[in-house]
């Protein structure tokens, strides 16, 4: 993985000291809150309901063992012994003190991490496929491009005060595991018949109160011309995006109001004028970046392992875990392990410092010192030998990390909701816990199959409810929490917007309604159909009748 050079170290360390000075000036009163707020936000520091919240970037979701150990140490030293992994492949601490945040940033810098541009109207932490570099269905590893985008966008003077926040995702597999089409800009890897590598470019996706699915603006941009094209796209947005109304300031609104063709024309004109040789990285620099992301040298092993087979036969939990949480690897005899952070009754995305240390140690001992954070709020061991799975399962199980529900309905995306967030209207976590309790039966979950449930505590959609096969949106109904069900969304390569089913429910009513929806699916499905497939085939009416006319 990428290692900082002297420039990176100097840049990040300088930022730590700059923020230390800003905090001191704020505490002394030299800076007002109004002056300080944008400065702290550019360093990932929010003020939430109970305390400050620090959002730390995990660029393109990649970590090593030492970095996760440091994240665990920070949780113990400055916070309350846990962290929350988010849908943007970041980690959030919920209780840091303002006076200590410069020290936290210094600790992060010591392992080549930071909180730069995890908030504010700038280009945020770039995200990617959490199986990047390991997935069998991958065309090529897009993390070098993620790193290139990180370097290009960090402190970019022209794009530090955009009309609104800006999210870029890049992925290289045939299956979309990065919710590409829900991003401001998304890059899907393509290899031409000639062997030339590049990207299909999407623009204008986003959730929030006005959900849009991104559209293709360019069928192909060669990988060595990517940054100049991004620069042209951002430049047009920066100049034409609305700044008079924050709810209409995202690029999705600009593309919608201009029309894709007009926006594309403006971008192409801008692109034609750019001095690309001064923007795109030289070939030598690209090759330097690629070298950091060379795949680990893995011994090709047998695809059969007697010990694994025996344990799967003897231990049904291990068998289900193999079925749900293990994915194919590029190299025979190896697997990708998803560590679910969705224990039934737990809090989605939360990990204690002890759990983080265990996972960090597992990555060092069994996964080439590499880890990933998924946008679905789970952790990934990307390079595990098949023969090591029994040992890993045993260690995860002892730490409460062996929940075998990856991709099942209890593997929910859940925002922090009103339990932590000052913007939320309703709590998300208790509802997710009630759903998990109602469906706490692995055989039933397996029977239901792939089902993406996504819960947001407000219209800002941090819980991705628009992209849920079943989405749930919390609203404030005259001071009382209320939840709307949405059906038919997808964050995958078949991206679609979920549609509100009808009037909302209280917490218990929502769980009942959800169960009725699933009963309709189970009664109506054809062989091999996922919930989403059945919904698309039969439409919303049978679900509506089951929920409202029972």
């Amino acid at each position: 993985m990428y290692a900082y050079d002297t420039y990176d170290h100097a840049l990040v360390n300088a930022r730590v000291e700059e923020f230390r000075d800003q905090v001191n000036r704020r505490l002394s009163g030299e800076l007002t809150e109004e002056e300080f707020r944008p400065l702290r936000l550019m360093n990932g520091l929010y003020l939430q309901l109970h305390a400050y919240m620090l959002r730390v970037a995990i660029p393109y979701g990649t970590l090593n063992s030492a970095q996760l150990h440091t994240l665990a140490d920070i949780a113990d030293k400055y916070d309350k012994g846990y962290g929350h992994f988010t849908t943007r492949q970041n980690i959030q601490y919920n209780w840091p003190k303002l006076v200590e945040t410069p020290d936290i940033l210094a600790d992060l810098a010591s392992v080549e991490m930071h909180a730069i541009q995890t908030s504010g109207n700038c280009i945020r932490n770039v995200t990617t496929d959490h199986f990047a570099g390991a997935a069998k269905d991958e065309l090529f590893d897009t993390r070098p491009h993620g790193e290139l985008i990180r370097q290009w966008s960090t402190f970019h003077p022209e794009f530090s005060f955009l009309p609104r926040k800006f999210k870029i995702a890049v992925a290289g597999a045939t299956v979309d595991r990065a919710a590409l089409r829900w991003h401001d800009i998304a890059l899907q890897a393509i290899i031409k018949e000639s062997g030339e590598r590049g990207f299909e470019v999407y623009v204008g996706g986003g959730m929030g109160r006005s959900p849009f699915i991104a559209k293709t603006i360019r069928d192909f941009i060669p990988e060595d011309q990517l940054i100049a094209y991004l620069e042209a796209m951002l430049r047009v947005y920066n100049q034409a995006g609305r700044r008079d109304n924050k709810y209409k300031a995202r690029i999705k609104i600009l593309v919608h109001e201009m029309g894709l063709d007009a926006y594309k024309d403006a971008v192409e004109k801008e692109y034609a004028l750019l001095d690309k040789s001064n923007i795109d990285a030289p070939k030598a620099e690209l090759e330097r970046l690629y070298r950091y992301f060379l795949p680990p040298t893995l011994e090709v092993l047998s695809e059969d392992d007697e010990e694994v087979a025996a344990l799967a036969k003897a231990n049904p939990l291990f068998s289900v875990w193999l079925d749900r949480n293990i994915d194919a690897h590029k190299v025979d005899g190896h697997r990708i392990v998803t560590i679910s952070l969705k224990p039934h009754g737990g809090i989605a995305g939360d990990a204690t410092s002890e759990q983080m240390r265990l996972v960090a140690d597992l990555s060092k001992d069994y996964s080439q010192n590499e880890l990933r954070v998924s946008h679905e709020q789970n952790l990934i061991l990307p390079h595990v030998a098949l023969r090591d799975l029994p040992t890993i399962f045993k260690k995860l199980d002892a730490a409460g990390l062996s929940t075998a529900n990856a991709g099942l309905m209890t593997d929910m995306i859940v925002c922090p909701g009103l339990d932590y967030c000052s913007l939320a209207n309703a709590r998300s976590i208790p509802l997710s816990q009630k759903i998990a309790k109602r469906f706490d039966d692995i055989a039933r979950l397996q029977d239901i199959g792939e089902l993406k449930v996504k819960i947001s505590g407000c219209i800002n959609s941090c819980g991705h409810h628009h992209a849920g096969h079943i989405g749930i949106l919390g609203v404030d109904k005259k001071g009382v929490e209320n939840y709307q069900l949405l059906l038919g969304g997808s964050g995958g390569e078949d991206a679609s917007k979920a549609k509100i089913l009808g009037r909302g429910f209280d917490e218990d009513g929502t769980v009942d309604a959800l169960e009725r929806v699933i009963d309709v699916y189970l009664r109506s499905r054809n062989d091999g159909e996922r919930f989403l497939d059945t919904y698309r085939r039969i439409g919303e009416q049978p679900f509506k009748e089951a929920v409202y006319d029972h």
């Binding site: 809150e33 109970h50 400050y52 003190k97 303002l98 009103l418 932590y420 976590i429």
Partner: protein, 112 residues
């Protein structure tokens, strides 16, 4: 900005240096204990409390002061914010009662 309210209100804020939730207290300072909050029963009293809060903002003690509806419950034994948001802000996350700054204080005061 004061919200329209016909009932009693108190002032909630976050402490600048550590972000901790605090309440404008009877003693004129900022207390981490909800029950120490001073109550405004009419617009004039609320205006006076907000003026005190603004002085505390200017003195870099607190940020984001906000009046919230909170009536005395339990026969006058303890304050209870009327909106769930402020109940949670006062007591901590409902899903982690072991963590909220206020949980221990409220328990100590016999109100939870």
């Amino acid at each position: 900005m004061a919200k329209k309210s016909e009932g009693p209100q108190i002032i909630i804020a976050n402490r600048l240096d550590d972000g901790r939730v605090v309440f404008l207290s009877k003693a004129g300072g900022w207390s981490v204990t909800l029950n120490n909050a001073v109550q405004a029963d009419n617009p004039e009293q609320l205006k006076a409390l907000l003026e005190t809060a603004v002085k505390s903002v200017d003195a870099n003690i607190i940020v984001s002061p906000e009046p919230i509806d909170a009536a005395l419950s339990g026969g006058g034994a303890f304050f209870e914010p009327s909106h769930i948001k402020y109940k949670i802000q006062s007591q901590g996350p409902t899903v982690r009662p072991d963590l909220g700054y206020q949980a221990a204080d409220i328990k100590q005061a016999g109100t939870a």
